[in-house]
């Protein structure tokens, strides 16, 4: 009997443990109904998605930019090189208010929003209402 695919998992990708804890807390406070997974860099997140793509329909990735091993940009590039045949929605959550970073972020078709840290409840509500993923939260 085949296992039913879950609809979505939410990946918190940041090398700062406190930030990961704060993101998680805000998501929980907003009562998101999906599994929350924490990764400390892009590589870890990519490997997780690849390993779970058969089980999960979609992934919402809250992605930091500046990280060791594989930063956020390299993570996005990785998807250009290799498609994983699954829906991936990336929201860049960065401390950078630099305009170039925002412009660069939206050049990737995976990025659906850019949020400046710290991630607040209102930010999570806004993400839930993004048109690309709105259906997952109603």
């Amino acid at each position: 009997m085949p296992t039913r695919k879950s609809d979505m998992e939410i990946l918190i990708v940041d090398d700062d443990n406190i930030v990961c804890m704060l993101h998680r807390n805000q998501l929980l406070r907003s009562q998101v109904p999906y599994k929350l997974v924490t990764c400390s860099n892009g590589k870890q997140a990519f490997e997780y998605i690849r390993s779970k793509k058969e089980e999960v329909n979609s992934f919402l990735v809250l992605l930091d930019i500046n990280m060791p091993v594989m930063n956020g940009w390299e993570f996005l590039e990785k998807f250009k090189e290799k498609s994983l045949d699954t829906d991936i929605y990336v929201v860049l959550v960065s401390s950078s208010t630099y305009r170039d970073d925002k412009q660069k972020a939206f050049r990737s078709d995976k990025v659906i929003d850019y949020v400046t840290k710290p991630l607040g409840v209102s930010d999570v509500e806004k993400i839930k209402n993004l048109k690309e993923i709105k259906s997952y939260f109603n």
Partner: protein, 905 residues
């Protein structure tokens, strides 16, 4: 037998004897006796056959003997000569040398009593004072001296006359008594004095001699004498000389006259020869006058022509030819010798008009105009001979003697009259020939004129009777109509005329009833081929003229003119059409009639004048600017006057109707006749005011451009692609440090471009130039300056293209942006630094800050479940410290950048 007997007697004669016979002009020895052989070197046989001259070589006696021989032969009487000394060259015995001989020449007659031989007998007549008795002396004296017609005399050793006969006194034209007191020398003519003296010296030195010399009588008359001198010996001492003088003046004069006449004849013949051979030209006459003048020893010979003045009816004389000797000055160029009134020289004209010669001597002339002429021209005597033709004085030949007052001898006058007569004949002949030639030429001209007018002219001449039938048709019908006159004679003229023209012509000919001459309008006349020729006729009624008795019709073929007129009308129409198609005024100026035809579309468009104003004769020159008109006229005159010029181009100001001036350019083509004279000028006048204004504006723009080139630091370049010349401004040297010399190389600039930029720049320029739509070009590149520095430049250019889109000129500016580029690099570097700072601010600074904010949010909601409060506080402190460290690092880096910038400055 008888002959031998006589010969024996002859041989035995005791006197030297010779027998001469005349053979031709010579007298030759045919016999000699024993005696003569004994005194001459010749033996008997040698002497036979010798001539008189050979027997008596070089002896004076030879002429005397010849005369004597002739006398004997002609009279058949004995002739005696002597006593004489015989100068025998071949004498054998010296004693015979100084002997005197009596010579007897005796005729020997034949059966008819004609003298055929001369017996020449020499009888010794040696004078010997001691032996000669008184009686013999008296007889001798009587015979040889007193009765002798020749002059006989004796001179002492000084030359004084010691004795003389009447004969010598007569020759000397002095009395015998006077003569005997005189010396012979005063009678000698100067030129012969020395010669005579030498012969006298020979005589008194014992040498008898004979000679001929010139003497002067006591009355000054010239005498030519044959003198024989014999020494007088007394007791073997020479005391003087006997002399015999024979007056041969008349003989010599006769000979001279004969020679002169002979010379005159030769000269006359030469004169005639010249006139006949070379005609009466001035050169021939000068040559002939020279010969004649020298012959008659004149100083001037001339010919005057007499012409009757038509107005005053006065006879005027003019010198036509002249020859002068070295003693006279020429008068041919003297204006007074031309057109001289004959009335003022009546003394000359009197005899000349009566066909008589005129002679005059200076001292015989009274005070008169002729005397003045004598004095002016230093004439001493004059001889004028009339040239009379057909009873009128035609002129005269003159001779002047400027050295002596000469009495012209009859011989001279007769000779010169003969010469003048021959000259007259020559003049008469020439006059007659000239008149004949003129008449012949006039006749020939008339014939040619008739032929040209009637037979070969361009007009058809015919004579019609009253019914209109041809009575006569000129040969020109062949050329004009191709019809033989015989094809027309007898036919009605109207049969040849176009039916549409007949009625009109009949009406016009009808006018001949009331008027003498009618000129018809053009009508058509059928030629041999059936084509219609356009003719124009003048008809003259000569019915009453007995020589014509008809109507003379003079018809001219005007077909060509008619067709040309149509052609001209067509051309004019083309001109008008051409003028309509252009703004220019086209004109056709007939320079011979000064008529101008102008073709124009609308002058109102150009200058605002009406057609009536334009067509006025002086319209054009009167509207040319007064300052331009003189120069324009001079140029026009110069070019039209130069046969080599066929084109003229001028520019001038032309007054518009509103008073302003338009700038006009006039270009014309000159048509010349065969002689090179300009006869037409066809041209076009263009209003170039707008063009000139544009040119002025362009000039101004160029001036501004030049100023701008001087003022800017940018290197302005102006590339003329037609001449491939590039002009660059001062920045070329001042900013780019190149020398003027290097500017001359055509690919110079390209060669200075950085090798990595060369291809790009060239490609960019080629593409821009090849696209006719592109008018701007810009490129940035690196070049190497003259001093080796590298410079970044921005080169911008504008292209000027022709109608086909080809680039003719490019004007550009090269801006050195090395400094600004350096500044930009610096700014870029700073920007990168700032970017790095901004990035760091975003990522490094804001990361702990964002963490801090998140932690503070937990405090705000008192949510300590996810993190205990003390741990939370600790993390907040950690984040704050992290932020502090980052800010300190940023300040430190900014300080380092500022220090670096200052150092660079």
């Amino acid at each position: 037998m008888e002959k031998n007997y006589l010969l024996d007697i002859f041989t035995a004669l005791p006197f030297p004897c010779l027998v001469f016979k005349k053979e031709g002009e010579n007298f030759n020895v045919v016999q000699a006796n024993r005696k003569i052989s004994s005194i001459l070197c010749f033996n008997h046989d040698e002497i036979i056959g010798k001539s008189l001259v050979e027997v008596y070589p070089k002896d004076f006696i030879v002429p005397l003997l010849q005369n004597s021989f002739h006398k004997v032969l002609s009279t058949s009487k004995k002739d005696v000569i002597g006593p004489v000394t015989l100068n025998f060259t071949h004498i054998k015995i010296s004693d015979h040398k100084n002997l005197m001989w009596d010579i007897e020449n005796i005729p020997i007659k034949d059966e008819n009593t004609d003298a055929v031989f001369i017996l020449h007998v020499l009888k010794e007549a040696v004078l010997s004072d001691s032996d000669r008795n008184e009686n013999e002396k008296d007889q001798q004296y009587e015979h040889f001296i007193t009765k002798n017609p020749d002059g006989l005399y004796s001179l002492d050793l000084k030359g004084d006359f010691t004795s003389a006969n009447e004969g010598i006194a007569e020759i000397a034209e002095v009395s015998l008594q006077e003569l005997l007191k005189m010396n012979f020398l005063p009678f000698c003519e100067t030129k012969d004095k020395e010669k005579i003296w030498n012969h006298f010296q020979e005589g008194i030195n014992g040498v008898a001699n004979t000679f001929e010399a010139n003497f002067l009588s006591a009355k000054g008359n010239e005498k030519v004498l044959l003198i024989s001198l014999m020494p007088i010996k007394i007791n073997n001492e020479i005391v003087g000389t006997y002399g015999r003088a024979k007056d041969i003046t008349n003989l010599r004069n006769s000979e001279k006259v004969l020679s002169e006449k002979n010379h005159f004849l030769n000269v006359n013949s030469m004169f005639m020869g010249l006139l006949l051979e070379q005609g009466l030209s001035v050169e021939t006459l000068e040559k002939a006058f020279s010969i004649v003048g020298q012959t008659v020893k004149a100083d001037r010979m001339y010919y005057f022509e007499a012409v009757k003045d038509e107005g005053s009816k006065e006879t005027l004389i003019s010198m036509k030819v002249e020859w002068t000797s070295e003693n006279a000055k020429p008068e041919i160029d003297n204006p007074e010798m031309h057109g001289l009134s004959a009335n003022k020289l009546q003394e000359i004209m009197g005899p000349l008009t009566k066909n008589l010669p005129f002679t005059a001597k200076l001292n015989d002339l009274p005070e008169c105009e002729l005397r003045d002429i004598f004095l002016d021209q230093q004439i001493k005597s004059m001889l004028l001979l009339p040239v009379f033709i057909q009873n009128d004085l035609y002129g005269f030949i003159g001779f002047d003697d400027c050295t002596t007052e000469r009495n012209w001898s009859n011989d001279e006058i007769n000779f010169l009259k003969g010469l003048a007569h021959n000259f007259t004949n020559a003049v008469e002949k020439r006059t007659a020939e000239t008149a004949l030639r003129q008449k012949e030429e006039a006749l020939k001209r008339n014939e040619e004129k008739f032929k040209a007018l009637v037979q070969e002219g361009s007009d058809l001449i015919g004579i019609l009777d009253t019914s209109g039938k041809y009575l006569f048709v000129s040969d020109t019908s062949k050329n004009i109509l191709g019809l033989d006159p015989q094809d027309m004679i007898g036919k009605l003229a109207f049969d040849f005329i176009h039916p549409d023209d007949v009625q009109r012509l009949q009406e016009e000919f009808g006018l001949l009833e009331t008027q003498k001459r009618v000129k018809t309008a053009a009508f058509r006349f059928k030629d041999q081929s059936g084509n219609w020729r356009w003719m124009e006729t003048t008809a003259t009624n000569l019915l009453s003229d007995p020589a014509v008795q008809g109507i003379v019709v003079n018809s001219r073929d005007i077909t060509t003119i008619y067709e040309q007129a149509k052609e001209i009308e067509l051309i004019n129409e083309r001109y008008r059409l051409a003028a309509k198609a252009t703004q220019d005024i086209i004109y056709d100026w007939d320079l011979e009639t000064d008529e101008v035809i102008r073709y124009y579309r609308s002058l109102i468009d150009l200058f605002g004048y009406t057609a009536e104003e334009v067509d006025q004769r002086k319209f054009w020159p009167s509207n040319i600017h007064p300052d331009d008109l003189p120069h324009l006229r001079k140029k026009l005159d110069d070019i039209l006057g130069d046969e080599e010029e066929f084109f003229i181009s001028t520019e001038y100001r032309f007054k518009r109707v509103d008073g302003s001036y338009a700038r006009v350019r006039d270009r014309g083509f000159i048509i010349r006749n065969k002689q090179g004279k300009a006869i037409r000028l066809i041209g076009a006048s263009s209003d170039i005011s707008e063009l000139t204004a544009k040119e002025e504006a362009l000039k101004l723009a160029n001036q501004r451009f030049q100023l701008a080139m001087k003022a800017t630091n940018e290197m302005i370049w102006d590339w003329n692609l037609e001449t491939n010349e590039i002009v660059r401004n001062q920045a070329f040297e001042e900013v780019y440090k190149f020398s003027e010399e290097t500017n001359k190389a055509s690919d110079f600039w390209y060669s200075r471009i950085h090798p990595k930029d060369q291809k790009r720049v060239k490609k960019s320029l080629d593409i821009a130039m090849a696209n006719p739509e592109v008018f701007k070009w810009k490129e940035e590149y690196r070049i190497f300056k003259g001093n080796g520095d590298r410079a970044y430049v921005i080169d911008r250019a504008s292209m000027i293209r022709d109608n086909l889109g080809n680039v003719k000129r490019m004007v550009g500016a090269v801006l050195d942006v090395t400094e600004s580029r350096r500044l930009l690099q610096e700014v870029k570097g700073q920007r990168e630094t700032f970017k790095e700072i901004a990035w760091e601010q975003s990522h490094v600074v804001r990361a702990p800050l964002a963490r801090l904010q998140g932690l503070l949010d937990l405090f705000e909601i008192n949510d300590f479940e996810v993190m205990p409060k003390n741990e939370l506080v600790e993390n907040v402190k950690k984040a704050a410290n992290e932020i502090d460290g980052i800010i300190t690092g940023i300040v430190s880096r900014i300080e380092k950048i500022e220090v670096g910038a200052d150092e660079k400055k």
